[in-house]
Amino acid sequence: MDNLARAADYLNRCSKCGGCQAVCPLYQETRAEPYVARGKLFLLKNHLEGKLPLSAKMKEIMSLCLLCKACVNQCPNNIPVDQLVLGARQKIAQEKGISFVKKNVFQHLLKNNGRLTLAARLGWLYQRAGVQWLVRKSNILKVFGEEIVQKERLLPKMAKRPFRKQVPRFLTCSRPKLRVAYYTGCLTNFVYPATGHAVVNVLRRHDLEILIPEQWCCGIPALASGDEKTAAELARKNVEVFQRAGVDAVITDCASCGSMLKEYADLLGTPEAKAFAGKVLDFSQFLSEAVSFRAGEIEVPRLATYHDPCHLKRGQGVFEAPRRLIRKVPGLRFKEMKEPDRCCGAAGSFNLTYYNLAAKIGRRKVQNIRETGADFLVTGCPSCIMQLRHMLELENSPVQVLHLAELLSMTYSSQGQANESGRGCSHAVS
């Protein structure tokens, strides 16, 4: 039985109260019932009852979901809408197959390290191709008109060298209290190495032994496209690598990767996967709960606001930790924005496929950010960062978008950074 059929019970629990309309960002922009949770669930129910085939239209409707879980949070009947949408995408992928390009990308993700870089490039390529296909095919896009040029600008440049090639695999210090592994995520590795350096810089101040082992994509792009098989294979590989490393915690800097890694337990169901998933902590969670965080002494006399990534707040229940850390930055003032936990529209590569729709969602976010008058927008997910930087740039806004790690890293004297071995710390390449 597929995941969708297993979840059929949930479909009967939808009382069609419409409560999800109030929170679904897609509904708020389109006000079209097929895109809100209630509509999607009703269609899936019809499908499971044999009244509706998995048509191209169904495929489009199911792909129009940010998986932001806003509806899940709101639903009085606790229906895991995102899981049902994923189940549907999986079934569609099984029945219809996934596109040739996507298949290639995901296959490459499974291959060794060298190819990963290639896969990342292919990924961009695929997304560009996908975008063009959708522009031609999709009806909903016509409502909003299309701006290919904008979309090109959304894609940030790839790093010249991936982050993991820039750092040693093993960093230690004189009296390590914990041994941790850093799961870097693909965006940090290929696009935002600065985030990676900041994460390492902050972690290094906390008496840790840090491993950055060779690793694989977390699998969320594959899963989100309905390719559960590839996702599970990637999961198995990651579990193996990190369990072998024998660490106390696996730290991620990416909300989406983090929520995916934590779901390995359910995805694989093995004891190893459970043990692994139990060790996964978001960067902010780790600093705030596993060690006692020490900020540096450099003042940051600015005003900051914080954006809750969907996969951090609703996906992992982490929203207090980052705020606690931000408040510890010397000299920094913090101001909460309106609707801090509303999706920014990024949603993996949703913003590439449905650029204008995502941009509409993003504009509301940007407006909320700007209303605070903040200098810094801090968040915990590279995917949100990509979307928000782009959206703010379009408005020529001076607001600087920072990963939490980058903000915290600013507080330490650069001395430590110049001298890679830092205070009593040294590293060796394993």
């Binding site: 629990r13 019932e33 509509g39 019809n46």
Partner: protein
């Protein structure tokens, strides 16, 4: 089915992208918040009264049904396309056209979400009181069409009490304007009242002029727990006798309390027969005094525990219990049939006893909560849609509970409307003469029975 030439004509009126014709899209406009669903032939998303007028003219020419639809949160089946036809989705018409602070009125399009208007009004220290529990999603158009009420109705009245003027596209395709920005108007028949609560059967509301009031300065919230239901009822009577009109007097019965406690674990007493949530508002010093008086009355009538919220957080905690009701009760069984009878306030204990007796006779799970201040109760039957034998008992029980409400001098529906769900029982309350007058009005205004057929007049399905 509509002919493709006709669909093309409609596309020319509203634009191609605002006509939804795929099976998937049509399915999503064939349900509301009742358990039922039907399939419309087409979904059309107009943007102006003029577009609607053209579509209605076509409908009269080609004789297809037109069903106005807001957010689709109705609880009586009002927006269900029971006879197919064109669902007219009005959510794109969602502009707040004006908030006139001098005359205390708002002019809005029908698709405006209720809570959006409230937020905009409150930004200006104004207040739009009607507050159906669905206010974060329901539309003003839907509220007017159903004459929605809410917990605040006891003090502030229902939607009807705030409608000053309307623009309506009639079932034959004329545009009619009635009322305006004045508080008084006696020019001819009161068409505003006719259209308010007409459930989309007499016209499509395309513009609404609403009365606003100044925002009350302060508000206090409290919760009182009773061992006996009669004591809760006594509190209500005593409070009103004292000349205090609380904004809300929400009642939850024993089974509701147990469901909520099971669900939330917030320490509600499992042996209590009733809980009242009471809110008073007005000028700050008066509110303070009244809160103390009400607490005193609660005690005097036998409340065993009284909790007054000291801050916003505690207020939220009290309301959390009430808000959890919907979710909590479906844990018993998945299908929830929500009724909303209303009886004269003094008959509440009697009505609740009758309800419980009916439920036990038909062996049904029944929870009761509602607005004790105005006698509007929400008996909810929890059942399983997929169990035909049980659904049959439900059907019978509903017939009896309507009968009981009418016998006690009450009404079938306090705020949800008749729609399809209550249509078979309409005559119970209106009698033959009342029914005939209503039908005559419908026939006169909508000779071709275009608008929302099959609603209200259920005993003859053609309306």
């Amino acid at each position: 089915m509509l002919q493709s030439s006709l669909i093309n004509e409609i596309k020319k009126i509203v634009g191609k992208e605002n006509v939804l014709a795929t099976l998937e899209e049509r399915l999503c406009y064939g349900y509301d918040s009742t358990p039922e669903a039907f399939l419309p032939d087409l979904v059309v998303r107009p943007d102006s009264a003029e577009q609607i007028q053209k579509i209605i003219k076509l409908a009269n020419l080609h004789l297809f049904p037109v069903i106005p639809r807001g957010a689709g949160t109705g609880l009586s089946g009002g927006s269900l396309p029971v006879k197919g036809g064109v669902v007219l989705d009005l959510t794109r018409m969602n502009r707040i056209l004006e908030i006139d602070e001098e005359n205390l009125v708002a002019v809005v399009e029908p698709g405006v979400v209720t809570s959006h208007l409230q937020e905009e009004a409150e930004k200006r220290e104004l207040f739009y009181p009607p507050d159906p529990a669905s206010l974060k999603t329901s539309t003003i158009g839907g509220n007017v069409a159903e004459c929605a009420g809410g917990p605040r109705a006891f003090k502030y009245g229902v939607t009807r009490d705030y409608v000053l003027g309307l623009e309506v596209v009639t079932p034959t395709g004329e545009i009619l304007r009635t009322g305006g920005k004045t508080v008084k108007s006696v020019t001819g028949y009161d068409l505003i009242r006719l259209y308010t609560g007409s459930e989309g059967t007499l016209g499509i509301i395309t513009k609404i002029i609403l009365r606003l009031i100044p925002k009350p300065e302060a508000k206090e919230t409290m919760m009182a727990v009773y061992e006996r239901l009669d004591d809760a009822a006594k509190t209500v009577t005593l409070t009103i006798k004292r000349g205090i009109i609380p904004v809300t007097l929400e009642l939850m019965d024993d089974l509701t309390i147990r469901c909520v406690e099971n669900y939330l674990q917030i320490g509600l007493p499992l042996d209590a027969e009733a809980i009242l949530i009471i809110e008073v508002d007005g000028p700050a010093d008066l509110v303070k005094k009244q809160t103390e008086q009400v607490a005193e009355l609660c005690r005097a009538s036998g409340a065993r525990e009284i909790k007054i919220a000291r801050n916003e957080k505690e207020r939220e905690e009290i309301w959390a219990a009430r808000r959890a009701v919907s979710a909590a009760v479906v844990q018993i069984k998945p299908t929830k049939i929500s009724e909303d009878i209303a009886v004269p306030r003094s008959q509440i204990p009697q009505m609740i006893r009758r309800l419980k007796e009916i439920a036990s006779r038909y062996q049904l799970n029944l929870v009761i909560f509602g607005h004790a201040g105005d006698g509007n109760l929400h008996p909810n039957i929890l059942c399983d849609q997929n169990d035909p034998e049980e659904m049959e008992r439900v059907e019978k029980a509903i017939g009896e509970l309507f009968q009981a409400a009418v016998e006690l001098g009450g009404t079938l529906s306090g705020e949800h409307g008749i729609g399809t769900m209550k249509a078979p029982y309409l005559k119970l309350e209106t009698g033959e003469a009342g029914y005939e007058v209503m039908r005559a009005i419908k026939k006169a205004l909508d000779p071709n029975n275009i608008l929302n057929p099959g609603k209200i007049f259920g005993s003859e399905r053609n309306g």
